[in-house]
Symmetry: C2
Subunit: 207 residues, 2 copies
DNA sequence: TAAAAATGTGAGCAACTCTTCACATTTTCT
DNA sequence: AGAAAATGTGAAGAGTTGCTCACATTTTTA
């Protein structure tokens, strides 16, 4: 359902071939995401994941060469989903307030399945080089997205200054969403309204 | 140097009495903060801390009954320092832009020693009840601080709506600072300027 | 249907974790 | 100075973790 962005570096040990094993891998990835979201990196133990997935620890290691490759698989999937959601909201033509409202709604939606996952993937879980790279395809597309939005409302073409502004507002949004998720208050409408106002004000200001 | 906010729950096992042992405890706490900031909760092992502090593991357990009590000591110290810094910046009389500038400067300063510490303490490290409590003295003072700032510029007295707004802008600032710290770019002046603009715009808007 | 390939299992090893405790050293007290 | 108190040490026990491997079961192939 989601567009793959880049080939995974630490590939799977063995590609599942039959429907049964593909289901097994799917179950493992989902169990991993659940554990990561609910209990953080320190709760992310291979035995725990296998237990929650209802498969033996041996099955997990049939397809994932080590713990890190499993995190990478989860991260890969999550980033794909995030980008997909974001691509749907574009600034063209929309007034700042409306763009902000749609963006916040998309962000909230992206965090409603595994509220803690994004934060844990970003902050706690170790990542392979591919994802630490500030010039990774994902980082570039993500940053450009915000820089473009800022440039649109500043009525200029994206430049270095707008990249700084884009990253800043992106980090601010991230902070609000992430702290709301931590308190289990991601659906707080009053909070969402204030966040929309914050974004709209910042973008609307013709600096 | 810092005002104690609340008595610690999980006290020390034994109070250091001589100058030598007080220095030992100090070294351990600092080593702990360093490890927590640099390597996160998963790197925070008692043996590692003792090694970095240059004392034996036995010495650590002479004063701290367990690992958690050491985290609590570090957290306690960090919260004291944060509040102390924040108390110095008040909104009274200052135009929004100037208040925002001082606030950002204070936040940057508070994160320049152990850039990752705040985030790890908030998100990764387990905490005793005292600190998880959303009605803890710290949380209340922290929230009131922002609610007051919002109310000041909205020219009304703090109420429930301003608490929501206060928390939102606080979380936004937190996100920017925290993501900058993660990239090692907490001193980026361009970023700081944009953050100041964001805060000033939001506070200046008479909703 | 029989062989081959794919998939699933879980006891257990090596490495690491937190913590204790019997003991050695240093400082303070009388 | 000698005794008592405070401080410092690190080997080792009990528990947990990532991961392997010899083997059992299921599915596909011929």
């Amino acid at each position: 359902m989601s567009t793959r962005i880049a080939k995974q570096r630490s590939a799977m040990r063995k590609e599942p071939q039959q429907a049964r094993s593909r289901a097994t891998v799917e179950t493992i990835v989902q169990a991993g995401a659940r554990v990561l979201s609910d209990e953080g990196w320190s709760g992310f133990t291979t035995n725990r994941i296998a237990e929650l997935a209802g498969v033996s620890i041996g099955s997990l290691y049939q397809y994932f060469p080590d713990k890190l490759s499993l995190v990478d698989a989860i991260r890969h999937r999550h980033l794909d989903d995030s980008i997909t959601v974001m691509r749907k909201v574009r600034a063209d033509g929309l007034p700042p307030a409306e763009f902000a409202a749609q963006l916040v709604q998309a962000m909230v939606a992206a965090h409603s399945v595994y509220p803690g996952l994004h934060r844990v993937l970003l902050d706690e879980a170790p990542s392979s080089e591919e994802y630490r790279d500030p010039n990774s395809e994902f980082e570039i597309e993500y940053l450009s997205y915000y820089a473009e939005a800022v440039a649109t409302y500043r009525k200029r073409s994206p430049n270095a200054a707008y990249h700084v502004a884009g990253r800043m507002i992106s980090d601010a949004i991230d902070g609000v969403i992430h702290n709301a998720a931590r308190r289990g208050a991601i659906d707080d409408l009053a909070m969402q309204r204030e966040l929309v106002r914050l974004i709209a004000l910042y973008l609307g200001e013709t600096g």
